[in-house]
Symmetry: C2
Subunit: 229 residues, 2 copies
């Protein structure tokens, strides 16, 4: 007699293996479609607000399919959260982790690239902030991950900050404060967009113009923060 659950696991396993054999085709398959729909739903509504039926519907499959591939809402969600955490960390690293440039250039560049990343992924920050906050069980793992990534980058930048300050080029500052300044300025307007939009006046009609101005404002603010006075 067959245990259905084991059968499903077996099917998925073989599927994965054969897929691994010929990764050549793009394979816009249903599993992928479901993942994309889930991404939308989870980013917009969070774990608690998301509905597996809506996800299945948006993906154009029956909701049996969703459980066939991912077994539970929780597992599906974790696929998404994991990927998004990776993406978010990555964006900070690649934006600021470019040594070789003079410090001011490196920072200006970092701010702009980080800002551009968020323009391209405007509801990523809210998603991460909310879900990290509301998952005490997964928190310790995330914490460790964030710390490890941040530590290397921060140590590096702190050294450069100290060197520049020693040469009298910039004000002395703690890298954690500086990075928090940058991230706050870059991220907050996106997290809180619906709340700030009403106060933007004529800015709000042209969203992309506003963001361009905002990017410049953030660079300006940080450069002034560093300037020797």
């Amino acid at each position: 007699m067959l245990d259905i659950k084991n059968t499903v696991v077996y099917l998925q396993l073989t599927k994965l293996l054969t897929k691994h054999d010929n990764m050549t085709k793009p394979a816009k398959n249903k599993e992928q479609t479901i993942l994309e729909a889930a991404e939308q739903e989870f980013l917009n509504k969070g774990f608690a607000g998301a509905r597996t039926t809506s996800i299945a519907e948006a993906a154009g499959v029956t909701h049996a399919m969703l459980h066939y591939y991912f077994r539970t809402k929780e597992q599906l969600f974790e696929r998404i959260l994991d990927e998004k955490m990776r993406l978010m960390s990555q964006s900070v690293l690649t934006a600021f982790g470019e040594p070789g440039l003079p410090l001011a250039e490196r920072l200006r560049n970092g701010i702009e690239r980080h800002f551009d990343f968020i323009v391209a992924n405007p509801d990523l920050p809210r998603f991460i902030v909310n879900e990290v906050f509301s998952r005490p069980d997964h928190y310790e793992a995330m914490r460790t991950r964030i710390r490890e990534i941040a530590e290397v980058l921060m140590r590096d930048i702190q050294q450069e900050l100290d060197a520049a300050a020693a040469r009298g080029e910039t004000e002395r500052i703690d890298v954690r404060m500086l990075m928090l300044d940058i991230i706050s300025l870059n991220v907050f307007p996106f997290i809180a967009y619906p709340v700030i939009e009403p106060i933007l006046g004529n800015f709000s009609t042209d969203r992309s113009r506003f963001f361009a101005l905002r990017k410049a404002e953030n660079v300006e603010t940080i450069m002034r923060r560093l300037k020797k006075s």
Copy 2:
């Protein structure tokens, strides 16, 4: 024959009226207790994540009571959201709406008072941002409300900014950009605390010391942003 729903409405009506007659007693009654428990639950988990049973349990009443007083989760939630929106708007107004001071003092003061308010209400911002975002139906009303409040204050501050710039005391700047700088710096660390905590290093052990330093950093950053260079 009595329609139960109308009876309940009637009871609530008379309760409200008699209460209005003698507002002298503190009345730590169950209705209030439920509201307080609901506040906790909604602030922590949002509308979708909140459970009316948890609220009732936390308030130490049966969940029939909750429906007796508030009929639906939605109505209970709106009481809370409404109050919190008011509180949040109010905090900005009272922090920055103090004319008569020289501009720099007024802003420094505003930043500090606004920051203190958030220290005292650390999960208010995340709550508002999330729930405003996920309620398209109520959004138009909130939008109007935010705009009306902001407009007066902003016009006032913009005039002072222009005057100071004309006197050559400060850099010329758009009030919307400046206020967004301030709010971003003040609010973001609280919204994202679980995410940034791992990168704080030894700061993170003493949360209140960190916040004190952070407040000073925000004032410094904004003052430098305004400084004529």
